[in-house]
Symmetry: C2
Amino acid sequence: MKYIKKALENRTPYYSKMIDDGIILNANESAFKTPKKIIDLLKKELDNIDLRRYPDTDNLYVRERIAKSYNIDIKNVTCGVGSDQLLDCIFRSLIDDEYILACNPTFSMYKEYASYTNGKFIDIDFLDGFSYDVKTIKESIIKYNPKLVIICSPNNPTGSIMERNDLIDIIKLTKGVVLLDEAYSEFYKSNYDLALTYDNVIVLKTFSKAYALAGIRLGYAISSYDLIDTLNVVKPPYNLSTISQIAAGIAIENKALYKDQIDEIVSLKDKLYNDLVDLGLNPSKSYSNFIFLKLSDKVYENLLKNKIYIRKLMYNNELWYRINTGTSEENSILINKIKEAL
Amino acid sequence: MKYIKKALENRTPYYSKMIDDGIILNANESAFKTPKKIIDLLKKELDNIDLRRYPDTDNLYVRERIAKSYNIDIKNVTCGVGSDQLLDCIFRSLIDDEYILACNPTFSMYKEYASYTNGKFIDIDFLDGFSYDVKTIKESIIKYNPKLVIICSPNNPTGSIMERNDLIDIIKLTKGVVLLDEAYSEFYKSNYDLALTYDNVIVLKTFSKAYALAGIRLGYAISSYDLIDTLNVVKPPYNLSTISQIAAGIAIENKALYKDQIDEIVSLKDKLYNDLVDLGLNPSKSYSNFIFLKLSDKVYENLLKNKIYIRKLMYNNELWYRINTGTSEENSILINKIKEAL
């Protein structure tokens, strides 16, 4: 690339052909479609909105509904194009040449967005069985004084969770900011209230997983007024389409519609875990809608051949796989096709 | 803001209450609503798409339709959340501590996104009557060797255009990249083909103005394969909601629907210009859907009092105003309320 700036000259553009046929278990999306009622309400709204106008840059429609759902102040909420954009805002607004502490393996976009700053990563390994190594995390916070500590709970891709008392200890110990990424917390439980108790906590959440709305790209942060202001300094104006704002607002207003669906996803994931154990495999204990495990190349090839798509990830120089739960039928086919190639 | 990084400590977050009542002439939006047929086609598509899935990160649906509309290769196109996101990508991928040449006054977001880089701006004033000072631009390109030369044509907020032969001279003279921002070119004419003739040109376009779809936030760049790859290195994955991609695809596929609407907007702007001249004012000669001029505080206050919203801009330490054309009725009220306070 002739004109790219020096710091990026070894990068390559990201392209990825969309998969829309087969059993898609590679993106931690919901096993179930968006409830029809949400789509119907959205279609109705399309007759009322004036798409010629720029969206509300303050995102009031959706922020009001998010705030109401948690019974918090609207000024404790900001929204982005997925939680991804808020990650970018976090790194862009907070990090110069300072330390960032995160665990390994975790969501790959942290390092991607951090790469535009001068931040330096400290990676903390998980303990055996992928439980958080809280002791080493604490020691490293004392040693390095990181500007940002990232805890993803439930963690992508391992499904690990950090206990509330450990989270509180870490928040109290950190002089910088603690990012608690709760993209998957609807499948277990949320500690969002910590963002209102402590002034250095940002909780990130999304409509892409439990809300079955990855297509609208809307995530949100819950934090102190001061940190929300900080994110809004760098948040691009008019960042969210009017339609996405309304879709997310409708979804959270109707969150009762999702309750059974979420319970069902958790049961499906538990059954999938047991079925994988029964096959002699060693899946991670996950508190989310996905499972992390090692598989042979032969198994992976057999899944691909049968149009079953799971996520391949490099972890400690080995190939691992992340599989989100599908429906009961999809999981049965998955298990059969794994068995076939064992 | 306690945790914001040092380089940003003097910034303030951007908040802006949305105006949805009165005569709104402050955002260069279309004078006319999105054609009903576009909305109807979009609603129909909502029954077919699976919003639980992440959007196509390669944006094929909309890129195919854009490419077809210009009869160009899809690999010459990339899409962003408005052309704003592509501006951010341009600065992020190209600029380190290099010169950026732009004219003054112009679109304020150039400096906003450049502020996250170490780029240094060279501002070139317009000549009297806001025509481009091509001679000084050329001399400055030779003198400073800028990494990026920005030409907005028609220019926001002056409505000035740069002639094609001057554009070509500037492109040939520039060793870096020329950004030709054509957000408003549907109201005059486009030189998008220069992005395919020369390897150092990026043309930016948007659905927010002539296409009356500011609410979906979708812009696009036309450029060489190499520069499109460069932008895609830093473009966030899954940047565009599925619904926005489909809405823009439908709009450009049905661009014939907009022809009369665009012709009418140009006529309305011309009549508005003449009416302002008749009032003894000195509006800029504009090739877009808006007009730039000086007004007294008294006039501005009278417009506000009557819920007529225009854009206040600081230019060379003086207050100026940008007014986009409304409908015939809206323009009549505007002219009357200006007259009332002269």
